[in-house]
């Protein structure tokens, strides 16, 4: 890759690309947002009740995607991060973060959307089917109805009675379409016209799964789950590891040896069994998975923090700070944190990769986020049954997992080589 491409170039390029390719959706979403904004003044409670997580997701991504190019140009010189050169790992992480934030704008269906399974199930990548759209009832003059109508246009739902998929199609005075050799008739007046045509072709970029759901959409939303679980668990690991490590290193004595012994035991135990056991006993949900994975990773961070704290404890500057009467909180954040930041960061990135791996393995075993959300591991699990018929159910999520983990491991290795140049030689 060229030496002159920097992260901010890439972000700018990605955002402009997304804005141009999804312009109509973003436009409709802006219209929806203005309608929502006006309604907030007219009937606050009604409008506020309309706001759910999905709608907020659309609003947030629409507003930020429009601001992002401006912001990145203004802020590019103020931080070091956008000035980094693009390499394979940093580029991958940028793209993944971008997907994480703008998933609803990148995809054009809901990850759980399924309709006419007979037509759409197990379609290979890049296959096309005919898509007919039934006409929506005319919008009334009422503002609330207009808002709801606009909302249906923007927010993708997991069910949509308005859409019909068909294998093939004939145009007469009425439209004749075929679903698995079966013939159906529909009147022209009932269909919605788009660009002078009564039907369009829906392309499935990565094919569809056994329920006729779009693999590409699920892949994009699966990235959300993976990254979310990763961030959440790493945050919990950080809190546990930092706190316990400081406790053990600073106070020493019986707390130290007890915590150390427990950490040793947990490190020796096959952690997957532990995670599975806890999830089996307490039930598996997204937050249970995050909590358990975060908790199960604190040992190595604990060891690092503990040994660093023990070595810092006897340094002159630390003893001086102690004698000046700094409270313990400040000792931790002002004196110890800056020193241990580098090894902790490296450990956290390794941990991040491990957590994503563990989450996908749990989902593969059917113990992950409970089938509520599309997850890469669960996609591979369901794809294994259709290995002979549908390789596309396995390869995209497998490749996505590999790329993510490879990037995380690469970054962690590079960082540790950067912070410990002696280790490298």
């Amino acid at each position: 890759m060229s030496k002159h491409i920097k992260i901010w170039h890439m972000i700018l390029l990605l955002s402009l690309l997304l804005i141009t390719t999804r312009f109509s959706l973003i436009y409709e979403s802006v219209v929806l947002f203005t309608k929502f904004f006006l309604l907030l003044f007219k009937d606050f409670t009604w409008a506020f009740n309309q706001l759910n997580l999905q709608l907020a997701d659309y609003f947030f991504s629409t507003i930020t995607i429009l601001l992002l190019p401006v912001l990145i140009i203004i802020a590019r010189n103020k931080f070091r991060l956008p000035q980094l050169e693009v390499s394979f790992p940093s580029g991958t992480i940028t793209i993944l973060t971008f997907i994480f934030i703008y998933a609803p704008l990148i995809t054009d269906t809901n990850p759980d959307f399924q309709k006419n399974i007979g037509v759409t199930k197990l379609l290979p990548p890049l296959s096309r089917v005919y898509m007919l759209k039934l006409k929506e009832p005319d919008a009334a003059a009422d503002m609330k109805t207009k808002f709801l109508y606009q909302k249906n246009k923007v927010v993708k739902r997991s069910f949509d009675e308005q859409i019909i998929f068909a294998d093939s199609l004939k145009e007469n005075d009425s439209i004749i379409y075929y679903q698995k050799e079966k013939e159906f008739h529909i009147k022209r007046e009932l269909l919605q016209e788009a660009d002078g045509k009564l039907f369009e072709k829906r392309v499935f970029l990565f094919g569809t799964d056994e329920y006729g759901r779009d693999v590409f959409t699920r892949l994009i939303f699966g990235a959300r789950i993976s990254l979310f679980v990763g961030f959440g668990s790493v945050a919990i690991t950080l809190i546990f590891g930092l706190f316990l490590g400081f406790l053990a290193g600073y106070f020493g004595g019986i707390i130290d040896s007890a915590l150390n012994r427990i950490a040793d035991m947990l490190m020796a135990f096959p952690i997957v069994f532990l995670i599975i056991l806890i999830l089996a006993l307490f039930g598996n949900s997204l937050f249970a998975v995050i909590l358990v994975l975060g908790y199960s990773g604190w040992m190595s961070l604990f060891k690092i923090v503990r040994s660093e704290v023990i070595s810092i404890k006897n340094r002159d500057y630390f003893i001086t700070a102690q004698m000046l009467g700094l409270p313990k909180r400040n000792l931790l954040f002002k004196e110890i944190m800056p020193v241990i930041a580098a090894p902790v960061l490296v450990n956290l990135i390794f941990q991040y990769g491990n957590v994503i791996l563990a989450e996908s393995a749990l989902s593969y075993l059917g113990l992950g986020t409970g089938g509520m959300y599309p997850s890469w591991g669960a996609m591979i699990d369901s794809g294994q049954q259709y290995l002979t018929k549908a390789w596309w159910m396995i390869f995209p999520p497998g490749f996505a997992l590999f790329i993510t983990l490879f990037a995380a491991n690469n970054i962690a290795r590079k960082l540790s080589a950067y912070y410990n140049p002696l280790l490298k030689s």
Binding site: R261, I262, D264, M265, M267, A268, F269, P270, I271, V272, F273, L274, I276, L277, I278, L279, A280, L281, F282, G283, G353, L357, S360, A361, Y364, L365, G366, L367, G377, I380, G383, Q384, L387, T388, W391, I394, G398, L401, F402, L405, F406, A408, N409, N410, R413
Partner: protein, 328 residues
Amino acid sequence: MSNEILTLLIKRIAVSFLALFLLVSFLFVLLRISPGNPAQKYISPNFSPELIHQIEKSFNLDKPIITQYKTFLINLSKGELGISYTYRQPVLSVIKEFFPFTLFLFSTAIIIQICLSIILALTAVKRINGKLDKFLSRFTLMLYSTPSFVIGVLLIYIFAEKLGLLPTSGLKSFGIEKLPLHLQLADYINHLILPLATITLGGIAVYYKYLRENLENIYDQTFVLNLRAHGYSEKTITLKHVLPNAVNPLISVAGVEIGMLFSGALITEVIFGLPGMGRLTVQAILSRDFPLVIGCAFTAGVFVIISNLAADLLKAKIDKRLAKGMLN
């Protein structure tokens, strides 16, 4: 000296027992704070309150928690882990059926992993920073970044579905009992190639990385130069002097990795539908068979603790200096 080793042995075993005790206590606490109680499986809402009370009493649930804990410990030490809901057999006998296979898979995998990584590391170290060396370090990092189930499914796709060389799952073909012994053996081996390849590929990266670094450092040391100056053949130097030094740290890595490998074996068994502990555990969890789940976790914990102990003792046996370090 023998006295010292005895102290070490006793101390190390005591630590292992402490770990076991902590593990068991942890299991008990998990069981008690999880929603529901063990008697629930046997209670129907149609039962009268007296009957429910009687059932709970038969599970000792009316006794104080300390008594329950004591009973739990005594039962575990006797090997009474309860009765599996699905198999309708004592948990221990169910585990006895499934454990040998996992042990076999696991030990074969660890031997293959270590042998293969030694061979690879030796070839890579011959030309440091050569093409092969660079390729291998990149390739192993790639393997390390690929989840084992992705490797497994990929192998199935290539070798079983596309090339049709090997079977996709299971341990034996249908009706092989009628065949002569050597064909039966060939069938078993055929079924085990892909699972073993999956576990080995997943774990080889860690061993390779450590071994390569160790070998590189050791080849740089003066005693190797000295041996070379004395005209010993490269083969003797490698086999007699370099390898023993390089393998020693590997054992401690193996001790830590055993837990990981066990988890890897678990997932591999699920991918290939093999009759081992991993599949048993997952099935037990999915069917909410709690006595069996506890039994499986307990067995896995005991197994890992024992193998850690073995790794430590082996290390002390190879390097006497480490034994002294462990004593303190």
